[in-house]
Protein backbone atom coordinates (compact mmCIF):
# COMPACT_ATOMS: atom_id res chain seq x y z
CA UNK A 1 0.00 0.00 0.00
CA UNK A 2 1.08 3.55 -0.38
CA UNK A 3 1.23 5.20 3.01
CA UNK A 4 -1.62 7.51 2.07
CA UNK A 5 -4.10 4.67 1.97
CA UNK A 6 -6.29 3.97 4.98
CA UNK A 7 -5.06 1.43 7.48
CA UNK A 8 -5.44 -2.13 6.25
CA UNK A 9 -7.86 -4.61 7.68
CA UNK A 10 -6.45 -7.55 9.63
CA UNK A 11 -5.57 -10.53 7.48
CA UNK A 12 -7.52 -13.67 8.16
CA UNK A 13 -5.70 -16.74 9.48
CA UNK A 14 -4.55 -19.21 6.88
CA UNK A 15 -5.00 -22.47 8.70
CA UNK A 16 -6.90 -24.84 6.46
CA UNK A 17 -10.21 -26.13 7.67
CA UNK A 18 -10.16 -29.86 7.09
CA UNK A 19 -11.56 -32.99 8.64
CA UNK A 20 -9.82 -33.83 11.88
CA UNK A 21 -7.83 -37.00 12.12
CA UNK A 22 -7.85 -39.23 15.19
CA UNK A 23 -5.87 -42.17 16.52
CA UNK A 24 -2.98 -43.43 14.44
CA UNK A 25 -3.85 -41.12 11.60
CA UNK A 26 -3.54 -38.12 13.90
CA UNK A 27 -0.21 -39.49 15.14
CA UNK A 28 1.01 -39.74 11.57
CA UNK A 29 0.07 -36.12 10.89
CA UNK A 30 1.83 -35.04 14.08
CA UNK A 31 5.00 -36.96 13.30
CA UNK A 32 5.28 -35.57 9.79
CA UNK A 33 4.23 -32.13 11.00
CA UNK A 34 6.81 -32.10 13.78
CA UNK A 35 9.54 -33.10 11.33
CA UNK A 36 8.58 -30.20 9.09
CA UNK A 37 8.18 -27.66 11.89
CA UNK A 38 11.45 -28.39 13.60
CA UNK A 39 13.53 -28.50 10.44
CA UNK A 40 11.86 -25.29 9.32
CA UNK A 41 12.93 -23.70 12.59
CA UNK A 42 16.53 -24.83 12.23
CA UNK A 43 16.73 -23.55 8.66
CA UNK A 44 15.25 -20.20 9.68
CA UNK A 45 18.17 -19.81 12.08
CA UNK A 46 20.38 -19.34 9.02
CA UNK A 47 18.57 -16.20 7.94
CA UNK A 48 21.13 -13.42 7.80
CA UNK A 49 24.03 -15.80 8.41
CA UNK A 50 24.22 -17.70 5.13
CA UNK A 51 27.41 -17.89 3.05
CA UNK A 52 25.84 -15.89 0.19
CA UNK A 53 22.68 -13.88 -0.25
CA UNK A 54 21.31 -16.51 -2.61
CA UNK A 55 21.48 -18.99 0.24
CA UNK A 56 19.71 -16.64 2.64
CA UNK A 57 16.91 -16.66 0.11
CA UNK A 58 17.04 -20.40 -0.61
CA UNK A 59 17.19 -21.59 3.00
CA UNK A 60 14.39 -19.24 4.02
CA UNK A 61 12.40 -20.55 1.10
CA UNK A 62 12.82 -24.16 2.15
CA UNK A 63 12.05 -23.17 5.73
CA UNK A 64 8.80 -21.57 4.59
CA UNK A 65 7.79 -24.60 2.54
CA UNK A 66 8.29 -26.82 5.57
CA UNK A 67 6.46 -24.44 7.85
CA UNK A 68 3.53 -24.49 5.45
CA UNK A 69 3.52 -28.29 5.49
CA UNK A 70 3.62 -28.33 9.29
CA UNK A 71 0.70 -25.92 9.53
CA UNK A 72 -1.43 -27.97 7.19
CA UNK A 73 -0.60 -31.21 9.01
CA UNK A 74 -1.27 -29.67 12.42
CA UNK A 75 -4.59 -28.33 11.22
CA UNK A 76 -5.65 -31.95 10.67
CA UNK A 77 -5.10 -32.65 14.34
CA UNK A 78 -5.94 -29.51 16.29
CA UNK A 79 -4.91 -25.90 16.84
CA UNK A 80 -1.59 -25.27 15.17
CA UNK A 81 -0.29 -22.90 17.82
CA UNK A 82 -1.28 -25.09 20.73
CA UNK A 83 0.54 -27.96 19.06
CA UNK A 84 3.66 -25.94 18.30
CA UNK A 85 3.91 -23.81 21.42
CA UNK A 86 2.27 -25.64 24.28
CA UNK A 87 3.58 -29.17 24.02
CA UNK A 88 6.58 -30.23 26.06
CA UNK A 89 9.71 -31.84 24.72
CA UNK A 90 8.56 -35.41 25.31
CA UNK A 91 5.37 -34.79 23.32
CA UNK A 92 7.17 -33.92 20.09
CA UNK A 93 7.42 -36.83 17.70
CA UNK A 94 9.90 -35.57 15.11
CA UNK A 95 12.93 -37.61 14.14
CA UNK A 96 16.08 -36.53 15.90
CA UNK A 97 17.81 -35.65 12.65
CA UNK A 98 15.77 -32.48 12.12
CA UNK A 99 16.52 -31.07 15.57
CA UNK A 100 20.29 -31.35 15.17
CA UNK A 101 22.01 -27.96 15.39
CA UNK A 102 22.96 -26.34 12.10
CA UNK A 103 26.71 -26.64 12.59
CA UNK A 104 28.61 -25.29 9.62
CA UNK A 105 27.05 -25.08 6.17
CA UNK A 106 28.18 -28.64 5.35
CA UNK A 107 26.42 -30.03 8.42
CA UNK A 108 23.26 -28.27 7.34
CA UNK A 109 23.57 -29.58 3.80
CA UNK A 110 24.17 -33.12 5.06
CA UNK A 111 21.03 -32.90 7.19
CA UNK A 112 19.14 -31.48 4.20
CA UNK A 113 20.35 -34.22 1.91
CA UNK A 114 19.37 -37.03 4.26
CA UNK A 115 16.03 -35.51 5.14
CA UNK A 116 14.86 -34.14 1.81
CA UNK A 117 15.61 -37.43 0.03
CA UNK A 118 13.69 -39.31 2.72
CA UNK A 119 10.80 -36.87 2.73
CA UNK A 120 10.44 -36.98 -1.04
CA UNK A 121 10.48 -40.77 -1.07
CA UNK A 122 7.97 -40.99 1.75
CA UNK A 123 5.59 -38.38 0.35
CA UNK A 124 5.71 -40.05 -3.04
CA UNK A 125 4.79 -43.35 -1.41
CA UNK A 126 2.01 -41.74 0.61
CA UNK A 127 0.49 -40.24 -2.53
CA UNK A 128 0.45 -43.66 -4.17
CA UNK A 129 -0.90 -45.63 -1.21
CA UNK A 130 -4.67 -45.92 -0.91
CA UNK A 131 -4.51 -46.91 2.74
CA UNK A 132 -2.99 -43.58 3.79
CA UNK A 133 -5.42 -40.95 5.14
CA UNK A 134 -6.82 -38.79 2.38
CA UNK A 135 -5.90 -35.40 3.89
CA UNK A 136 -2.30 -36.54 4.36
CA UNK A 137 -2.22 -37.78 0.79
CA UNK A 138 -3.49 -34.41 -0.38
CA UNK A 139 -0.79 -32.64 1.59
CA UNK A 140 1.85 -35.03 0.26
CA UNK A 141 0.78 -34.49 -3.33
CA UNK A 142 1.40 -30.78 -2.98
CA UNK A 143 4.46 -31.03 -0.74
CA UNK A 144 6.30 -33.53 -2.91
CA UNK A 145 6.84 -30.80 -5.49
CA UNK A 146 8.46 -28.59 -2.87
CA UNK A 147 10.49 -31.50 -1.60
CA UNK A 148 11.87 -32.18 -5.06
CA UNK A 149 13.30 -28.67 -5.02
CA UNK A 150 14.74 -29.19 -1.53
CA UNK A 151 16.38 -32.41 -2.65
CA UNK A 152 17.77 -30.69 -5.70
CA UNK A 153 19.19 -27.86 -3.59
CA UNK A 154 20.83 -30.31 -1.18
CA UNK A 155 22.15 -32.48 -4.01
CA UNK A 156 23.71 -29.56 -5.86
CA UNK A 157 25.45 -28.33 -2.74
CA UNK A 158 26.63 -31.83 -1.85
CA UNK A 159 28.26 -32.00 -5.27
CA UNK A 160 29.83 -28.55 -4.92
CA UNK A 161 31.16 -29.20 -1.45
CA UNK A 162 32.19 -32.81 -1.99
CA UNK A 163 33.85 -32.12 -5.33
CA UNK A 164 34.99 -28.55 -4.57
CA UNK A 165 38.10 -27.81 -2.53
CA UNK A 166 39.97 -30.04 -0.08
CA UNK A 167 38.50 -28.07 2.77
CA UNK A 168 34.93 -28.32 1.55
CA UNK A 169 35.35 -32.03 0.89
CA UNK A 170 36.59 -32.61 4.43
CA UNK A 171 33.84 -30.52 5.93
CA UNK A 172 31.12 -32.21 3.89
CA UNK A 173 32.45 -35.61 4.81
CA UNK A 174 32.43 -34.63 8.48
CA UNK A 175 28.89 -33.24 8.22
CA UNK A 176 27.64 -36.48 6.68
CA UNK A 177 29.29 -38.49 9.43
CA UNK A 178 27.93 -36.38 12.27
CA UNK A 179 24.37 -36.48 10.96
CA UNK A 180 24.50 -40.13 9.93
CA UNK A 181 23.89 -41.34 13.45
CA UNK A 182 20.37 -39.92 13.28
CA UNK A 183 19.30 -41.40 9.95
CA UNK A 184 18.27 -44.81 11.24
CA UNK A 185 14.80 -43.70 12.27
CA UNK A 186 13.99 -41.86 9.03
CA UNK A 187 12.07 -44.89 7.86
CA UNK A 188 10.86 -46.23 11.18
CA UNK A 189 7.21 -47.20 10.75
CA UNK A 190 4.78 -44.33 11.17
CA UNK A 191 1.47 -45.50 12.63
CA UNK A 192 -1.40 -44.73 10.29
CA UNK A 193 0.77 -44.86 7.16
CA UNK A 194 0.75 -48.43 5.79
CA UNK A 195 3.98 -48.18 3.79
CA UNK A 196 6.73 -50.66 3.05
CA UNK A 197 9.27 -48.75 5.09
CA UNK A 198 12.10 -51.21 4.50
CA UNK A 199 11.70 -50.85 0.75
CA UNK A 200 11.56 -47.07 1.05
CA UNK A 201 14.79 -47.12 3.00
CA UNK A 202 16.42 -49.15 0.26
CA UNK A 203 15.33 -46.55 -2.27
CA UNK A 204 16.72 -43.84 -0.04
CA UNK A 205 20.08 -45.57 0.30
CA UNK A 206 20.30 -46.10 -3.44
CA UNK A 207 19.53 -42.45 -4.16
CA UNK A 208 21.92 -41.30 -1.46
CA UNK A 209 24.75 -43.47 -2.73
CA UNK A 210 24.30 -42.08 -6.22
CA UNK A 211 24.63 -38.49 -5.00
CA UNK A 212 27.57 -39.23 -2.73
CA UNK A 213 29.33 -41.19 -5.45
CA UNK A 214 29.13 -38.29 -7.85
CA UNK A 215 30.27 -35.95 -5.09
CA UNK A 216 33.34 -38.18 -4.49
CA UNK A 217 32.18 -38.77 -0.92
CA UNK A 218 31.99 -42.10 0.91
CA UNK A 219 28.80 -43.26 2.55
CA UNK A 220 29.44 -42.93 6.30
CA UNK A 221 30.25 -46.13 8.09
CA UNK A 222 29.06 -46.99 11.55
CA UNK A 223 25.71 -47.25 13.27
CA UNK A 224 22.91 -45.15 11.85
CA UNK A 225 20.77 -45.69 14.91
CA UNK A 226 21.29 -46.86 18.42
CA UNK A 227 18.82 -47.98 21.02
CA UNK A 228 20.58 -45.91 23.63
CA UNK A 229 20.98 -42.47 22.09
CA UNK A 230 19.91 -42.21 18.50
CA UNK A 231 16.54 -42.98 17.02
CA UNK A 232 14.04 -42.23 19.75
CA UNK A 233 12.43 -39.18 18.21
CA UNK A 234 9.23 -40.94 17.23
CA UNK A 235 8.78 -41.98 20.86
CA UNK A 236 9.45 -38.47 22.12
CA UNK A 237 13.05 -39.13 23.11
CA UNK A 238 15.12 -36.23 21.85
CA UNK A 239 18.65 -34.93 21.99
CA UNK A 240 19.87 -32.23 24.37
CA UNK A 241 19.87 -29.35 21.88
CA UNK A 242 16.15 -29.84 21.30
CA UNK A 243 15.15 -28.48 24.71
CA UNK A 244 16.90 -25.23 23.92
CA UNK A 245 15.22 -25.02 20.54
CA UNK A 246 11.82 -25.36 22.20
CA UNK A 247 12.72 -22.91 24.96
CA UNK A 248 13.51 -20.29 22.37
CA UNK A 249 10.58 -21.07 20.12
CA UNK A 250 7.96 -21.25 22.86
CA UNK A 251 9.11 -18.64 25.32
CA UNK A 252 7.18 -15.61 24.06
CA UNK A 253 3.99 -17.51 23.35
CA UNK A 254 4.02 -19.13 26.79
CA UNK A 255 4.79 -15.81 28.50
CA UNK A 256 1.38 -14.47 27.52
CA UNK A 257 -1.12 -17.24 28.27
CA UNK A 258 -4.29 -16.92 26.25
CA UNK A 259 -3.10 -13.95 24.22
CA UNK A 260 -3.74 -13.78 20.50
CA UNK A 261 -1.07 -12.49 18.15
Amino acid sequence: MTPAEPPPAPVAGTTAVAPRLVGDEATAALMLGDDALILSHRLAEWTGHAPALEEDVALANISLDLLGQARTLFSLVGDEDELAYLRGERDFRNVQLVEQPNGDFAHTIARQLYFSLAQEIRYTAVVGTDGCPTPIRELAAKAVKETAYHRDHATEWTLRLGDGTDESHARMRRGLEVMWRHTGELFAAVPGLPLDDAALRENWLTALEAVLGEATLPLPQGPDADAWTAGGGREGIHTEPFGFLLAEMQHLHRSHPGATW
Binding site: V11, A84, A259
Partner: protein, 347 residues
Protein backbone atom coordinates in the same frame (compact mmCIF):
# COMPACT_ATOMS: atom_id res chain seq x y z
CA UNK B 1 35.45 0.75 -10.65
CA UNK B 2 36.16 2.72 -13.76
CA UNK B 3 34.23 5.90 -14.21
CA UNK B 4 35.82 7.34 -17.33
CA UNK B 5 33.96 6.58 -20.54
CA UNK B 6 35.89 4.63 -23.16
CA UNK B 7 37.90 6.85 -25.45
CA UNK B 8 35.78 6.11 -28.49
CA UNK B 9 32.72 7.43 -26.69
CA UNK B 10 34.48 10.70 -26.06
CA UNK B 11 35.01 11.38 -29.71
CA UNK B 12 31.85 13.42 -30.33
CA UNK B 13 33.14 15.83 -27.72
CA UNK B 14 32.46 15.90 -24.04
CA UNK B 15 30.31 18.99 -24.18
CA UNK B 16 28.03 17.38 -26.70
CA UNK B 17 27.66 14.22 -24.60
CA UNK B 18 26.87 16.26 -21.55
CA UNK B 19 24.28 18.20 -23.46
CA UNK B 20 22.65 15.01 -24.69
CA UNK B 21 22.62 13.62 -21.15
CA UNK B 22 21.13 16.80 -19.69
CA UNK B 23 18.48 16.88 -22.40
CA UNK B 24 17.54 13.25 -21.79
CA UNK B 25 17.24 13.82 -18.04
CA UNK B 26 15.24 17.00 -18.53
CA UNK B 27 12.90 15.16 -20.90
CA UNK B 28 12.32 12.46 -18.25
CA UNK B 29 14.01 9.85 -20.41
CA UNK B 30 15.71 6.97 -18.64
CA UNK B 31 19.48 6.75 -18.63
CA UNK B 32 20.54 3.18 -19.37
CA UNK B 33 23.82 1.38 -18.55
CA UNK B 34 25.28 1.81 -22.03
CA UNK B 35 24.46 5.50 -22.23
CA UNK B 36 27.13 8.06 -21.56
CA UNK B 37 26.78 9.65 -18.13
CA UNK B 38 28.87 12.10 -16.13
CA UNK B 39 31.33 10.49 -13.72
CA UNK B 40 29.74 12.26 -10.78
CA UNK B 41 26.27 10.98 -11.74
CA UNK B 42 27.63 7.45 -11.86
CA UNK B 43 29.43 7.88 -8.55
CA UNK B 44 26.33 9.30 -6.88
CA UNK B 45 24.24 6.37 -8.08
CA UNK B 46 26.80 3.81 -6.97
CA UNK B 47 26.95 5.42 -3.53
CA UNK B 48 23.18 5.56 -3.19
CA UNK B 49 22.39 2.11 -4.61
CA UNK B 50 25.15 0.51 -2.56
CA UNK B 51 23.90 2.16 0.60
CA UNK B 52 20.41 0.99 -0.23
CA UNK B 53 21.55 -2.60 -0.93
CA UNK B 54 23.61 -2.67 2.27
CA UNK B 55 20.59 -1.40 4.21
CA UNK B 56 18.51 -4.28 2.91
CA UNK B 57 20.94 -6.93 4.03
CA UNK B 58 21.89 -5.32 7.35
CA UNK B 59 18.19 -4.70 7.89
CA UNK B 60 17.62 -8.46 7.88
CA UNK B 61 19.35 -8.72 11.24
CA UNK B 62 17.05 -6.85 13.62
CA UNK B 63 14.03 -8.70 12.28
CA UNK B 64 15.63 -12.11 11.88
CA UNK B 65 16.36 -11.63 15.58
CA UNK B 66 12.70 -12.56 16.21
CA UNK B 67 12.04 -15.32 13.65
CA UNK B 68 12.87 -18.13 16.05
CA UNK B 69 10.74 -16.55 18.77
CA UNK B 70 7.72 -15.50 16.71
CA UNK B 71 4.67 -16.13 18.91
CA UNK B 72 2.48 -17.91 16.35
CA UNK B 73 3.16 -20.01 13.28
CA UNK B 74 1.34 -17.52 11.10
CA UNK B 75 3.54 -14.68 12.37
CA UNK B 76 6.61 -16.81 11.92
CA UNK B 77 5.73 -17.48 8.28
CA UNK B 78 5.06 -13.80 7.59
CA UNK B 79 8.26 -12.65 9.24
CA UNK B 80 10.42 -15.26 7.52
CA UNK B 81 8.95 -14.26 4.17
CA UNK B 82 9.60 -10.61 4.92
CA UNK B 83 13.23 -11.12 5.83
CA UNK B 84 13.62 -13.31 2.77
CA UNK B 85 12.24 -10.47 0.66
CA UNK B 86 14.91 -8.20 2.07
CA UNK B 87 17.65 -10.58 0.95
CA UNK B 88 15.97 -10.53 -2.46
CA UNK B 89 15.94 -6.72 -2.48
CA UNK B 90 19.65 -6.80 -1.71
CA UNK B 91 20.12 -9.02 -4.75
CA UNK B 92 18.18 -6.73 -7.10
CA UNK B 93 20.06 -3.68 -5.86
CA UNK B 94 23.52 -5.20 -6.08
CA UNK B 95 22.58 -6.21 -9.62
CA UNK B 96 21.50 -2.65 -10.38
CA UNK B 97 24.87 -1.45 -9.06
CA UNK B 98 26.65 -3.98 -11.26
CA UNK B 99 25.22 -2.23 -14.32
CA UNK B 100 27.34 0.75 -13.26
CA UNK B 101 30.51 -1.30 -13.27
CA UNK B 102 30.91 -2.33 -9.62
CA UNK B 103 30.66 -5.91 -8.46
CA UNK B 104 28.77 -7.13 -5.42
CA UNK B 105 32.03 -8.37 -3.91
CA UNK B 106 33.59 -4.92 -4.17
CA UNK B 107 30.61 -3.33 -2.51
CA UNK B 108 30.47 -5.93 0.25
CA UNK B 109 34.16 -5.42 0.92
CA UNK B 110 33.53 -1.70 1.32
CA UNK B 111 30.61 -2.35 3.65
CA UNK B 112 32.68 -4.73 5.76
CA UNK B 113 35.56 -2.25 5.88
CA UNK B 114 33.20 0.51 7.04
CA UNK B 115 33.81 2.54 3.88
CA UNK B 116 30.18 2.47 2.75
CA UNK B 117 27.15 3.13 4.88
CA UNK B 118 23.81 1.50 5.46
CA UNK B 119 20.73 3.09 6.93
CA UNK B 120 21.42 4.12 10.52
CA UNK B 121 18.00 2.94 11.63
CA UNK B 122 19.29 -0.62 11.77
CA UNK B 123 21.71 0.31 14.50
CA UNK B 124 18.82 0.28 16.94
CA UNK B 125 17.96 -2.99 18.67
CA UNK B 126 14.73 -5.01 18.43
CA UNK B 127 14.04 -5.59 22.09
CA UNK B 128 10.53 -7.02 22.01
CA UNK B 129 8.22 -8.73 19.55
CA UNK B 130 6.38 -5.44 19.06
CA UNK B 131 9.55 -3.98 17.55
CA UNK B 132 8.91 -6.21 14.53
CA UNK B 133 5.60 -4.41 14.10
CA UNK B 134 7.10 -0.98 14.69
CA UNK B 135 9.78 -1.63 12.09
CA UNK B 136 7.16 -2.71 9.58
CA UNK B 137 4.85 0.21 10.22
CA UNK B 138 7.33 3.03 10.78
CA UNK B 139 10.65 2.00 9.27
CA UNK B 140 9.18 0.36 6.18
CA UNK B 141 6.64 3.17 6.01
CA UNK B 142 9.43 5.74 5.98
CA UNK B 143 11.33 3.67 3.44
CA UNK B 144 8.31 3.57 1.14
CA UNK B 145 7.85 7.32 1.44
CA UNK B 146 11.47 7.68 0.37
CA UNK B 147 11.41 5.01 -2.26
CA UNK B 148 8.19 5.50 -4.19
CA UNK B 149 9.66 8.58 -5.91
CA UNK B 150 12.74 6.49 -6.79
CA UNK B 151 10.56 4.42 -9.12
CA UNK B 152 10.81 7.52 -11.37
CA UNK B 153 14.56 7.89 -10.87
CA UNK B 154 16.42 8.89 -14.04
CA UNK B 155 18.60 5.77 -13.98
CA UNK B 156 16.65 2.90 -15.57
CA UNK B 157 17.93 -0.19 -13.72
CA UNK B 158 17.53 1.49 -10.33
CA UNK B 159 14.04 2.75 -11.14
CA UNK B 160 12.94 -0.69 -12.30
CA UNK B 161 14.38 -2.42 -9.23
CA UNK B 162 12.50 0.08 -7.09
CA UNK B 163 9.14 -0.70 -8.68
CA UNK B 164 9.40 -4.28 -7.55
CA UNK B 165 10.85 -3.43 -4.17
CA UNK B 166 8.11 -0.91 -3.40
CA UNK B 167 5.43 -3.50 -4.09
CA UNK B 168 6.96 -5.83 -1.55
CA UNK B 169 7.65 -3.06 0.93
CA UNK B 170 3.99 -2.15 0.95
CA UNK B 171 3.23 -5.70 2.04
CA UNK B 172 5.84 -5.32 4.76
CA UNK B 173 4.32 -2.14 6.05
CA UNK B 174 0.90 -3.73 6.05
CA UNK B 175 2.09 -6.66 8.13
CA UNK B 176 3.76 -4.31 10.62
CA UNK B 177 0.62 -2.26 11.02
CA UNK B 178 -1.51 -5.34 11.38
CA UNK B 179 0.89 -6.85 13.93
CA UNK B 180 0.73 -3.68 16.05
CA UNK B 181 -3.03 -3.56 15.74
CA UNK B 182 -3.32 -7.09 17.12
CA UNK B 183 -1.07 -6.13 20.04
CA UNK B 184 -2.81 -2.84 20.67
CA UNK B 185 -6.18 -4.59 20.85
CA UNK B 186 -4.76 -7.52 22.81
CA UNK B 187 -3.99 -7.86 26.49
CA UNK B 188 -2.78 -4.98 28.61
CA UNK B 189 0.76 -6.34 28.43
CA UNK B 190 0.58 -6.61 24.65
CA UNK B 191 -0.75 -3.08 24.32
CA UNK B 192 2.06 -1.76 26.52
CA UNK B 193 4.57 -3.68 24.43
CA UNK B 194 3.25 -2.03 21.27
CA UNK B 195 3.29 1.46 22.78
CA UNK B 196 6.82 1.00 24.06
CA UNK B 197 8.02 -0.06 20.62
CA UNK B 198 6.41 2.92 18.91
CA UNK B 199 7.92 5.21 21.53
CA UNK B 200 11.38 3.90 20.76
CA UNK B 201 11.11 3.76 16.96
CA UNK B 202 9.29 7.01 16.20
CA UNK B 203 12.19 9.45 16.36
CA UNK B 204 14.76 7.23 14.66
CA UNK B 205 12.19 6.72 11.86
CA UNK B 206 11.95 10.49 11.33
CA UNK B 207 15.74 10.59 11.09
CA UNK B 208 15.59 8.14 8.18
CA UNK B 209 14.78 11.00 5.83
CA UNK B 210 18.24 12.38 6.41
CA UNK B 211 19.45 15.73 7.65
CA UNK B 212 17.35 18.88 7.24
CA UNK B 213 17.44 20.34 3.73
CA UNK B 214 19.82 23.14 4.64
CA UNK B 215 22.36 20.57 5.87
CA UNK B 216 21.95 17.87 3.24
CA UNK B 217 25.20 17.44 1.34
CA UNK B 218 24.01 15.69 -1.80
CA UNK B 219 20.46 16.87 -2.26
CA UNK B 220 20.62 19.71 -4.77
CA UNK B 221 22.65 17.90 -7.43
CA UNK B 222 20.65 14.68 -7.00
CA UNK B 223 17.44 16.58 -7.55
CA UNK B 224 18.83 18.20 -10.66
CA UNK B 225 19.75 14.76 -11.99
CA UNK B 226 16.31 13.45 -11.08
CA UNK B 227 17.78 10.75 -8.90
CA UNK B 228 15.98 12.42 -6.05
CA UNK B 229 12.56 14.02 -6.52
CA UNK B 230 11.62 15.56 -3.19
CA UNK B 231 13.62 17.14 -0.41
CA UNK B 232 14.31 15.36 2.89
CA UNK B 233 12.12 17.72 4.88
CA UNK B 234 9.27 17.45 2.42
CA UNK B 235 9.27 13.65 2.60
CA UNK B 236 9.56 13.75 6.38
CA UNK B 237 6.54 16.03 6.62
CA UNK B 238 4.59 13.76 4.30
CA UNK B 239 5.44 10.77 6.50
CA UNK B 240 4.35 12.51 9.71
CA UNK B 241 1.05 13.53 8.12
CA UNK B 242 0.41 9.93 7.09
CA UNK B 243 1.36 8.41 10.44
CA UNK B 244 -0.73 10.58 12.74
CA UNK B 245 -4.15 9.24 11.69
CA UNK B 246 -2.76 5.70 11.44
CA UNK B 247 -1.50 5.93 15.04
CA UNK B 248 -4.98 7.01 16.08
CA UNK B 249 -6.50 4.00 14.34
CA UNK B 250 -3.96 1.81 16.07
CA UNK B 251 -4.93 3.23 19.45
CA UNK B 252 -1.31 4.19 20.08
CA UNK B 253 0.24 7.57 20.75
CA UNK B 254 3.28 9.14 19.13
CA UNK B 255 5.93 10.31 21.60
CA UNK B 256 5.98 13.98 20.66
CA UNK B 257 4.18 16.53 22.87
CA UNK B 258 4.56 19.17 20.16
CA UNK B 259 2.82 17.12 17.52
CA UNK B 260 -0.36 18.91 16.46
CA UNK B 261 -2.37 19.82 13.39
CA UNK B 262 -1.53 23.21 11.92
CA UNK B 263 -4.67 24.52 10.28
CA UNK B 264 -2.83 27.27 8.44
CA UNK B 265 -0.24 24.98 6.84
CA UNK B 266 -2.67 22.14 6.43
CA UNK B 267 -0.01 19.85 7.88
CA UNK B 268 1.20 18.63 11.25
CA UNK B 269 3.75 20.52 13.27
CA UNK B 270 6.15 18.32 15.13
CA UNK B 271 8.96 18.65 17.67
CA UNK B 272 12.65 19.10 17.04
CA UNK B 273 14.65 16.04 16.05
CA UNK B 274 17.74 15.25 18.09
CA UNK B 275 20.31 15.55 15.32
CA UNK B 276 23.09 14.95 17.79
CA UNK B 277 21.79 11.42 18.30
CA UNK B 278 21.60 10.96 14.53
CA UNK B 279 25.16 12.12 14.13
CA UNK B 280 26.40 9.86 16.91
CA UNK B 281 24.72 6.79 15.44
CA UNK B 282 26.08 7.69 12.02
CA UNK B 283 29.57 7.91 13.49
CA UNK B 284 29.29 4.37 14.77
CA UNK B 285 28.15 5.01 18.31
CA UNK B 286 24.63 3.62 18.04
CA UNK B 287 23.55 0.70 20.20
CA UNK B 288 24.13 -1.92 17.51
CA UNK B 289 26.64 -0.54 14.96
CA UNK B 290 29.39 -2.86 16.12
CA UNK B 291 27.12 -5.88 16.43
CA UNK B 292 25.56 -5.47 12.98
CA UNK B 293 28.77 -5.14 11.06
CA UNK B 294 30.45 -7.89 13.07
CA UNK B 295 27.67 -10.31 12.27
CA UNK B 296 27.80 -9.35 8.59
CA UNK B 297 31.55 -9.83 8.44
CA UNK B 298 31.34 -13.11 10.29
CA UNK B 299 28.71 -14.52 7.92
CA UNK B 300 30.86 -13.46 4.98
CA UNK B 301 34.10 -14.84 6.39
CA UNK B 302 32.56 -18.07 7.61
CA UNK B 303 30.98 -18.53 4.19
CA UNK B 304 34.23 -17.98 2.30
CA UNK B 305 35.06 -21.70 2.07
CA UNK B 306 31.56 -22.39 0.72
CA UNK B 307 31.88 -19.78 -2.03
CA UNK B 308 35.38 -21.02 -2.86
CA UNK B 309 34.08 -24.58 -3.10
CA UNK B 310 31.31 -23.48 -5.46
CA UNK B 311 33.81 -21.71 -7.69
CA UNK B 312 36.23 -24.63 -7.61
CA UNK B 313 33.46 -27.06 -8.45
CA UNK B 314 32.24 -24.92 -11.33
CA UNK B 315 35.79 -24.71 -12.65
CA UNK B 316 36.13 -28.49 -12.48
CA UNK B 317 32.92 -28.95 -14.41
CA UNK B 318 34.05 -26.51 -17.05
CA UNK B 319 37.41 -28.19 -17.30
CA UNK B 320 35.75 -31.59 -17.74
CA UNK B 321 33.45 -30.23 -20.40
CA UNK B 322 36.39 -28.58 -22.15
CA UNK B 323 38.44 -31.77 -21.94
CA UNK B 324 35.61 -33.72 -23.48
CA UNK B 325 35.49 -31.32 -26.41
CA UNK B 326 39.25 -30.76 -26.43
CA UNK B 327 39.91 -34.43 -27.15
CA UNK B 328 39.02 -33.68 -30.72
CA UNK B 329 39.77 -29.97 -31.09
CA UNK B 330 42.78 -29.59 -28.81
CA UNK B 331 43.35 -25.92 -28.06
CA UNK B 332 45.67 -24.56 -25.44
CA UNK B 333 43.96 -21.25 -24.90
CA UNK B 334 40.92 -21.99 -22.78
CA UNK B 335 40.03 -19.06 -20.59
CA UNK B 336 40.85 -19.38 -16.91
CA UNK B 337 37.84 -20.22 -14.80
CA UNK B 338 36.04 -17.19 -13.47
CA UNK B 339 34.34 -17.36 -10.13
CA UNK B 340 30.83 -16.08 -9.89
CA UNK B 341 30.59 -13.34 -7.30
CA UNK B 342 28.09 -15.16 -5.19
CA UNK B 343 29.15 -18.75 -5.27
CA UNK B 344 25.84 -19.85 -6.72
CA UNK B 345 27.13 -21.45 -9.84
CA UNK B 346 25.02 -23.04 -12.45
CA UNK B 347 26.16 -26.39 -13.75
Amino acid sequence: MTTAPPADQRSPGLAELERAFDTAVAAEERIEPRDWMPDAYRATLVRQIAQHAHSEIIGMQPEANWITRAPSLRRKAILTAKVQDEAGHGLYLYSAAETLGVSRDELLDKLHAGRQRYSSIFNYPTLTWADVGAIGWLVDGAAITNQVPLCRCSYGPYARAMVRICKEESFHQRQGYELLLALSRGTEAQHAMAQDAVDRWWWPSLMMFGPPDDRSAHSAQSMEWKIKRHSNDELRQRFVDICVPQAESLGLSLPDPELRWNEERGRHDFGAIDWEEFSQVLKGNGPCNEQRITQRRRAHEEGAWVREAASAHAAKRRARATAAIGDTTATGDTAPPTATPNGATTP
